[in-house]
């Protein structure tokens, strides 16, 4: 796919939960290789948009077009296999498994061995398992996690867990990566490190990244284009400078301050 071609097209996505309209008429074109930020106050509908893209929610209305193909309503595992990977706002690692095993999970959909191939010792499953492990180790090394490979994922410090989760998403060989508040719960320094990390993997893996953030400052440094939503409705889009000075955005975030008090 060439750069600048639209890879993910969100057409009037709407999600209604009973009487609550969580997202209304969300429209967006994301081009290959882009790094787009999506920000908005708590409860604005950001995660809901991700869930509609990944098939966890079936949109009340609208379509998701990935690489020219309508993927609306496909089950999550199929969407993942097509090349859209994600992380979760509350890290969802398989805590009792090692970091390496977490990455290996993502290789399973592309396993060549059949079930019987894996159960019987004569079909060379051992070789495929070794290959997968080497590949997974290579990936962990590429993201600077090699020495944590055999540690229980749930026992790692928070920041490392976040990276393992991203590594696991990368292992699905995605073309689009959705990151849901990756810097949540981090101190400013860790958040900056993570944003640097995000830029690195985008280059290394040739990714398109759609990034949700709650704290505006975090995305300001790295996303050339930012969309802002509030109460499920897009209120602004533009460069960090444009967003920073947009009165509607300021109002929305001030509104949140007020709501919090």
């Amino acid at each position: 796919m060439e750069r600048d071609q639209v890879i993910l097209k969100l057409e009037n996505l709407t999600m209604q939960f009973g009487g609550l309209v969580a997202v209304k008429d969300f429209l967006m074109d994301i081009r290959a290789g882009e790094l787009v930020g999506l920000i908005g106050p708590n409860g604005a509908g950001k995660t809901t948009i991700f869930n509609m893209i990944t098939g966890h929610y079936k949109p009340t209305a609208g379509r998701v077009i990935f690489d020219g193909r309508d993927i609306t309503g496909l089950p999550p595992h199929q969407i993942a296999r097509l090349g859209i990977a994600r992380t979760f706002q509350n890290i969802r690692l398989c805590k009792e498994m090692t970091a390496l095993e977490n990455v290996l999970i993502s290789f399973h959909p592309r396993l060549r061995s059949s079930l019987f191939g894996a159960l019987l010792p004569v079909f060379g499953y051992g070789r495929e398992e070794r290959e997968m492990r080497e590949k997974a180790l290579g990936l962990l090394e590429a993201v600077g996690l090699a020495k944590w490979a055999d540690f229980r994922a749930g026992g790692l410090p928070y920041g490392l867990q976040r990276r393992v989760e991203i590594a696991r998403a990368l292992a699905t060989t995605p073309r689009v990566l959705l990151l849901d508040e990756p810097a949540a719960g981090m101190n400013p320094q860790e958040a900056r490190d993570l944003m640097g990390f995000t830029l690195t993997i985008r280059e290394t893996f040739g990714l398109t990244i759609f990034l949700i953030e709650h704290v505006m400052q975090v995305v300001m440094g790295i996303c050339p284009r930012i969309r802002v939503i509030d109460f499920g409705i897009s209120i602004a889009e533009g460069t960090p400078e444009e967003i920073r000075s947009n009165s509607k955005v300021i109002e929305a975030y001030l509104g949140e301050e007020a709501r919090r008090v």
Binding site: H77, R81, E96, M97, I105, H108, L115, L119, P121, E129
Partner: protein, 379 residues
């Protein structure tokens, strides 16, 4: 320094000793298998002299087979099934229909004749393996009927409800399909083909398959489903298919187990496997450690031994009292011993050697306390 240059040396070292260790372990396993084969051979030849022990060893293997399957779906995959007794019942009846001699078939089905094709053929002893495989396959077919609708739903308790209902329906079917099952009267005179060679042979084969499953990419996907279904499907895992796979594996094991049981005790009747059987299996897999194959095997044999040892309670006190005892044991295990004997882990020679080293170290004083085993532990 690049981290890449600090790794290889130590890596290579451990890999060398690792290879040696693998071969040592394989040697030990081969020795044990040879020992087992000898034991099975002489055990079956002298079964009349040690009939109680021989019976317990068979029962243990039969429970262990069902428990190995049960721990794959309940423990490894984390899907709560209440179905094994139903699959055992199906397997038991299929084996009955396949191996009951023709003369017996004419004699037993007096009210309603047995339907074809079962009325006109029977397998000789040499076909017992086909009967047992058939028991497993028919249980798998039943498993498809229950599993496909029950596992599609997102809610975890669907499976428990559906499999519970399945067991009840199956009981009614067995009672009310006399032309197939001879109804409530059951079937007597089933040839008692089961011996240690069959029961232990199938246990070894199925436990081996379960271990390979657990250590493969499939097993990893199953464990991922247990830990976080949503995350697993987001990584491209077809959660439904894998749950079904685990469920069908457990059904196959239960079917074989039922076939072996009928051919051990020589009779089949509707209440042969009831909800109590599933309850016992639950006790076995929790006792062994949910998700541990080794635990399911050890648990199966412990259960068979204790169950026979406590037979006096039923005869001396009140019939059915044993069930109460086991209910109490299950509650105590759940409360105070939830990890079971093996946790989710497995028996391994390394683990055993490390344990022995620790034991010896403790005996010989403070010096050897930290054996090779403990230095492997991380985090």
């Amino acid at each position: 320094m690049f981290p890449i240059f600090t790794l290889p040396r130590s890596e290579a070292d451990t890999r060398m000793s690792g290879n040696l260790r693998v071969w040592c372990n394989r040697g030990l396993t081969a020795l044990v298998l040879a020992g087992l084969a000898t034991f099975i051979f002489f055990g079956d030849r002298h079964k009349d002299e040690f009939s109680l022990i021989w019976r317990i060893l068979n029962l243990g293997a039969i429970y262990a087979i069902a428990a190995v399957g049960y721990t794959v779906i309940n423990g490894m995959t984390g899907q709560f099934s209440l179905g094994p007794h139903g699959f055992m019942l199906i397997g038991g009846y299929l084996a009955t229909l396949l191996i009951l001699p023709l003369a017996k078939k004419r004699f037993v089905w007096i009210l309603e004749p047995l339907i074809e094709p079962f009325a006109s053929f029977t397998l000789p002893y040499s076909g017992f393996i086909l009967a047992l495989l058939g028991s497993g396959v028919v249980a798998v077919l039943a498993g498809l009927i229950v599993g496909i609708p029950a596992l599609r739903g997102l809610r975890g308790d669907y499976l428990a409800i559906a499999t519970f209902g399945f067991g009840e329906i199956l009981f009614m079917l067995v009672v009310n399909l006399p032309s197939l099952t001879n109804g409530a009267m059951g079937v007597t005179g089933v040839p008692t083909y089961t011996n240690l060679a069959w029961s232990w042979g199938f246990l070894i084969a199925l436990a081996y398959a379960a271990m390979r499953l657990k250590n493969s990419s499939y097993g990893r996907a199953l464990r991922a489903i247990r830990e976080d279904e949503l995350a697993a499907e987001s990584m491209g895992i077809n959660v439904f298919r894998l749950k079904l796979l685990a469920f069908l594996f457990s059904a196959f094991c239960a079917g074989v187990s039922g076939g072996l049981m009928v051919a051990l005790i020589g009779i089949a009747y509707p209440g042969l496997f009831s909800f109590f059987t599933t309850f016992y299996l639950l006790l076995i897999v929790v006792l062994g450690g949910l998700g541990s194959i080794s635990g399911a095997i050890v648990g199966g044999f412990i259960f068979a031994a204790v169950f026979e040892a406590l037979r006096f309670i039923d005869t001396a006190v009140v019939p059915g009292m044993r069930m109460v005892v086991f209910a109490i044991i299950l509650i105590l295990v759940m409360l105070f011993f939830r990890r079971g004997l093996f946790g989710q882990g497995e028996f391994s020679w390394d683990g055993l050697i490390a344990a022995v080293q620790r034991g010896l170290g403790r005996l010989s004083g403070a010096g050897g306390g930290h054996g090779a085993g403990s230095s492997h532990l991380k985090a």
